[in-house]
């Protein structure tokens, strides 16, 4: 764990769960797994607070525990999982695009609560949807649970490891911690629930208390006492599945940019066909014959089999090798080279970073070295057609920025500089690591800046909130226009301007956080897939 990552974790934990949880979480990240007493002692926090903080962290899947010898339970933080909190808005947005508002709220609730039972999610989401609907309309539980089932079928949500039912005949004291089990088979198995009912509004309960609810209400109170049918079966958002979706989308849009819409649609079809059959970490998708692809193309797409074959050959011939040909049977078998694709995307990211930081001529040198693998300084000057002095300057700048590395090859064993080749090369993996580290740092900086901005204007923000609250309450009681205006004028023009500026700055900082995280995602996926292959 690098310092930059720890710093970012600390900021994220603090922002989401408060300072006590942050203290405990960061302590665990720094020291590795620790027993409860040691945490309390080392952080100087009361045992009670440590317990509560650990409960919160475990609830949100940020900390796991393990029973060690002699029954000591040790707690371990999941640092990379903490960093995923940055991506929450993107997960929620993806759920919205795929499964509309219901899906959005389901994923949002799961992320907000860490883990929930299906019945709790369905109830909460139905209530929330009902509240946004027009009067008189309600959301049916069945509809929400349908969306939930679809999310589970496509693996976007999964079951948490569960506590196996124990027989009570088991003699001796119970274990100090439950042992959670998980089985592949049941991961996405939705419990059979008969959730009947409708979302309720918080306020309007008095309104529709006409005749029917009277009979309903006592029923409900008994409902609560009954054991919940899916008690103990908790669900969480499957972040890996979301990452797979992000990756596929990145590949599709890369193909669209490189070739055209039709080819991207073909690649999208291929990816969709292998979504469930290919594990998310596999370097290739399962081979698909061109006939299969043809049959699976979306209905509205009118391209003939011949055109499809031409496209596939074109894609397979592309130097980027997103699509590869793995055989000739069945009209040609095609795979998508996920590893290569991630590599190309990471390289493109590096190239564009060099271009934006050092200018287009540096980018030319960078691409040249990337393409020719190893080059001497003289060769770089010649090939890039840039005057020697400038080329040297640029090379050294990129070298000191760790985008380019230097490889010495001595002719004699004494490593004398005059008898040594100095070859410039780009090590994509280490450059990607360096850039990733920088990304973490920049996000931490962005968050700190945002907190600083809001802190500076705390008084002003509180004032505007208060004024807004007053206006809202007056509007509710039906105040006159003049009165409202008077209150609105409590915030002076310069103050208003200051608020505007603050809002613009905070928005920009927030948007940057989200977009830097996109780069983080690409680089991480690339590094992960490269490490798997080694």
């Amino acid at each position: 764990m690098t310092q930059a990552e720890i710093k970012l974790c600390s900021l994220l934990l603090q922002e989401h769960f408060g300072e006590i949880v942050e203290k405990i979480g960061v302590h665990l990240i720094r020291t590795g797994s620790q027993p409860l007493r040691a945490i309390a002692h080392d952080t100087g926090t009361s045992l009670d607070q440590v317990k509560k903080a650990l409960c919160v962290l475990i609830q949100h899947n940020l900390v796991i525990y393990q029973v060690h010898k002699r029954g000591v339970v040790e707690y371990e933080a999941q640092c990379s999982r903490v960093l995923r909190m940055l991506r929450y808005p993107r997960y929620i947005y993806t759920a919205k695009t795929l499964y509309s508002d219901t899906g959005e709220l389901i994923v949002e609730e799961l992320l907000l609560n860490g883990k929930m039972t299906m019945s709790a999610v369905v109830k909460k989401v139905a209530d929330r949807l009902t509240e946004t609907m027009e009067d008189g309309k309600t959301m049916d539980y069945a509809e929400v649970s349908n969306t939930f089932v679809r999310l589970a079928d496509t693996h976007f949500v999964q079951r948490c490891p569960w506590v196996p039912a124990t027989e009570n005949s088991d003699p001796g004291p119970p274990p100090p911690a439950p042992i959670l089990v998980i089985s592949e088979k049941d991961m996405y198995l939705v419990p059979k629930l008969s959730l009947i009912g409708k979302g309720k509004r918080r306020r309007s309960s008095d309104e529709d208390a006409a005749g029917e609810p009277k009979a309903k209400r006592p029923k409900h109170s008994t409902d609560n006492k009954e054991p919940i049918p899916d008690d103990g079966i908790y669900w969480q958002a499957n972040l890996d599945r979301f990452h797979q979706h992000f990756r596929d989308q990145a590949i599709v849009s890369a193909v669209a940019n490189r070739m055209d819409q039709t080819s991207s649609e073909i690649v999208r079809t291929m990816l969709r066909m292998s979504e469930i059959t290919t594990p998310s970490t596999a370097p290739f998708t399962q081979p698909l014959s061109s006939n299969e692809i043809f049959r699976s193309l979306p209905v509205g797409y009118n391209i003939s089999k011949q055109v499809l074959d031409q496209y596939l050959t074109l894609l397979a011939d592309d130097p980027l090798e997103f699509v590869g040909k793995s055989g000739d049977s069945g009209g040609g078998m095609y795979v998508i080279n996920l590893h290569k694709a991630l590599g190309s995307l990471a390289t493109a990211t590096l190239e564009s970073v060099v271009q934006e930081r050092f200018g287009s001529r540096c980018a030319r040198i960078f691409r040249l070295v990337l393409q020719k693998k190893h080059l001497e300084q003289k060769q770089v000057e010649d090939f890039a057609m840039i005057p020697a002095k400038e080329a040297k300057d640029m090379l050294y700048k990129m070298l000191s920025g760790n985008f380019i590395s230097l490889q010495e090859i001595p002719k004699t064993p004494d490593h004398a500089p005059s008898r040594t080749f100095y070859l410039y090369t780009v090590n994509i993996l280490s450059a990607a690591r360096m850039l990733l580290h920088r990304c973490y740092k920049s996000i931490a900086n962005l968050i700190e800046r945002r907190q600083f901005e809001t802190k500076e204007n705390k008084r002003l923000l509180e004032k505007s909130q208060r004024v807004e609250a007053i206006i809202a309450s007056m509007q509710a009681t039906g105040a006159e226009e003049a009165q409202l205006q008077e209150i609105e004028e409590m915030i002076t023009a310069p103050e208003r301007q200051q608020l505007e500026t603050l809002k613009r700055n905070v928005n920009k900082l927030d948007a940057s956080e989200i977009q830097v995280d996109e780069t983080i995602f690409l680089l991480e996926s690339y590094i992960e897939s490269t490490m798997k292959r080694q």
């Binding site: 922002e15 989401h16 769960f17 408060g18 300072e19 006590i20 949880v21 045992l47 009670d48 607070q49 317990k51 509560k52 903080a53 409960c55 919160v56 475990i58 609830q59 949100h60 525990y65 029973v67 339970v73 929450y88 808005p89 993107r90 929620i92 947005y93 919205k96 695009t97 949002e108 992320l111 907000l112 609560n113 860490g114 506590v163 119970p174 100090p176 911690a177 439950p178 959670l180 103990g232 908790y234 934006e356 930081r357 050092f358 200018g359 020697a388 002095k389 040297k392 004398a416 500089p417 005059s418 208060r466 928005n507 920009k508 927030d510 948007a511 940057s512 956080e513 989200i514 977009q515």
Partner: protein
């Protein structure tokens, strides 16, 4: 090479020209301070991506941040008391719904002990005995006070009495560490005492280590 050295030029083990410095050219200065915190960039950053999706995600992010603060998982630090209690503060308190973790999924030590007490069938009995004891205790102390008033100068004997009580408390604590069940009972005892006897205990406080002990008891009870 040797000539180079002779002319007073810094001695390098390699040919400087290979790195790009011509003959007689001045070498750059040595940097003696860290680079600036906010260096000038040669190129301005490109504008952020903008679009419907980005805007929506931005709104989601800000909303999520606010919602997180209102969730029961957000642990507030006890803030220090301000000199002036603000009227507005009373209305800023956010309503949080309660959260009861699923204890089946958590290690046993996570459970606050308060919960055990409620669950224990003994608790009722404990309460009774505790109350009886504490009542007797109060009566005791009251009697003592009366005596005190009568005598007026019985400082010494009183101190002795107190010490006795102190040692009693201590022995109780010893029990507490020994086993859980007893601890539950004792805890209850102490809580009762604290409620009823706290004032008197501190009244007779005479500055030995008994004071520290009673502090400990407080912690246990609130926990």
């Amino acid at each position: 090479m040797a000539g180079n050295k002779g002319r007073g030029r810094a001695a390098y083990t390699f040919n400087i020209e290979a790195v790009g410095f011509g003959r007689g050219e001045k070498l750059p200065d040595v940097a003696l301070k860290p680079p600036p915190l906010f260096p000038d960039t040669d190129y301005k950053p490109v504008p952020l991506k903008a679009g419907e999706g980005e805007d929506y995600m931005l709104a989601l992010k800000q909303e999520l941040r606010e919602t997180m603060k209102r969730m029961p998982y957000y642990m507030e630090t006890p803030e220090e008391k301000q000199d002036i209690e603000r009227y507005s503060k009373r209305y800023m308190k956010v309503y949080k719904e309660e959260w009861i973790p699923d204890w089946r999924r958590l290690p046993r030590e996570m459970m606050p002990r308060k919960k055990c007490r409620k669950a224990g069938p003994k608790s009722e009995k404990a309460k009774d005995t505790g109350k009886g004891a504490s009542l007797a205790n109060t009566a005791d102390v009251l009697k003592k006070i009366e005596e005190l008033e009568k005598r007026g100068d019985g400082e010494k004997s009183d101190e002795e009495n107190e010490e006795k009580e102190g040692s009693k408390e201590k022995s109780k604590e010893g029990d507490e560490e020994e086993d859980d069940d007893a601890a539950e009972q004792e805890e209850y005892d102490e809580e009762e005492q604290e409620e009823e006897n706290d004032y008197i205990n501190s009244y007779f406080e005479d500055g030995d280590d008994f004071g520290a002990d009673s502090d400990d008891n407080m912690d246990e009870a609130t926990y």
